[in-house]
C-alpha cells in the first residue's frame, strides 16, 4: 500500500505530499503523523502541499485535524506551498483553515517554525532565571 514518507529534520517533521490524496491515504497520513510526533517529540510539523491540485473539505478537515492533534502534543503545524488556485477555491468553499499556519514555501515555513521554537526557548530560559532569583 502507498505510504507518504515522513522525514525528520532536526526538531521538525516534514511531509511532502506529491500525489493527489485519496481518502484512505489521507487518513493513514493523519494517523502516521500523529504517531511520529509523539514518538520523536518533534516541535514542529511541516506539510508541503505544493503538488496538490485539489483540496476539498475532507482533505481540509484532515489538515485541520493534523494541526489540532499536533498542537495537543505541543507541536506547531505549518502548511506550505499552497497553489493559488487551491487557495481561491478553499476561500470560496468556505474553508479558511483556521488554526493552521501557512507559509509560501518550505524555506519560509522552516523559518517560521524556528522562530516559534526560539521564542519558546527564550521564554523557558526566562522562566529558569526567575526561579533562580
Amino acid at each position: 500500500m502507498d505510504k507518504i514518507p515522513i522525514l525528520k529534520i532536526g526538531h521538525f517533521l516534514m511531509v511532502a505530499i506529491q500525489v493527489d490524496l485519496y481518502d484512505r491515504l489521507a487518513l493513514n497520513l493523519e494517523a502516521d503523523l500523529v504517531q511520529a510526533v509523539s514518538k520523536t517529540g518533534a516541535k514542529g510539523v511541516l506539510i508541503d502541499i505544493s503538488s496538490v491540485s485539489i483540496v476539498d473539505s475532507f482533505m481540509g478537515r484532515i489538515l485541520g485535524n493534523i494541526a489540532g492533534m499536533s498542537k495537543v502534543l505541543d507541536a506547531d503545524t505549518v502548511i506550505v506551498g499552497m497553489q493559488p488556485a487551491v487557495a481561491i477555491t478553499l476561500v470560496e468553499l468556505g474553508l479558511p483553515l483556521r488554526g493552521v499556519q501557512t507559509a509560501l514555501n518550505v524555506e519560509k515555513g522552516m523559518e517560521l517554525l524556528q522562530k516559534k521554537i526560539k521564542i519558546i526557548d527564550e521564554e523557558e530560559a526566562f522562566d529558569d532565571d526567575s526561579t533562580l532569583q
Binding site: D20, Y22, D23, S53, I54, V55, D56, S57, F58, G60, R61, Q83, P84, A85, V86, I88, T89, E92, L93, G94, L95
Partner: protein, 120 residues
C-alpha cells in the same frame, strides 16, 4: 475518485477552462461524489459539454438512489451535517460553480446538476 477527477480535468482542459475554474469545478465535483459515496453508497455521474451564448461549459449530473434528503433548505446551510463532516459539501459546492440544481425524494434518491462556464 482519483480516476473521476482526472477524467473531469481532461474535459475541463478540452474546453479551455482556466486553472482556477478547473480547480473550483473539480473540488465541487469531489464534494458531491463524496456525498454520494457516503450517504447513498454510490451513484452515476454524467459529464456533458454544453454550449452557452457566450462560452462553453461543463455540466455534471450526479444521480443516486440513496435515502434522499428530507430537508434540502437545511442541507444547503453551512455547517449542517448528518455525518461527521464539516457540513460544507452542498453549500460549498454551490458557491464553486455557476449553476446548482438539486432534486431529492426521500427513499428514492437525489439528483444534483451543476454547471460551470469556461469563464465563470
Amino acid at each position: 475518485m482519483v480516476v473521476f477527477r482526472n477524467r473531469l480535468k481532461e474535459f475541463a482542459i478540452k474546453i479551455g477552462m482556466g486553472l482556477v475554474n478547473q480547480t473550483k469545478l473539480i473540488t465541487a465535483a469531489s464534494e458531491l461524489s463524496r456525498n454520494m459515496l457516503r450517504y447513498a453508497g454510490g451513484g452515476v455521474v454524467l459529464i456533458e459539454i454544453i454550449n452557452g451564448q457566450r462560452q462553453n461549459g461543463l455540466r455534471l449530473t450526479f444521480t443516486d438512489t440513496g435515502p434522499g434528503i428530507p430537508d434540502i433548505k437545511e442541507a444547503m446551510k453551512d455547517g449542517y451535517s448528518t455525518g461527521k463532516s464539516l457540513g460544507l459539501g452542498l453549500p460549498g459546492a454551490k458557491r464553486l460553480v455557476s449553476d446548482f440544481e438539486i432534486q431529492s425524494t426521500v427513499g428514492k434518491g437525489t439528483t444534483i446538476t451543476i454547471t460551470k462556464w469556461k469563464n465563470g
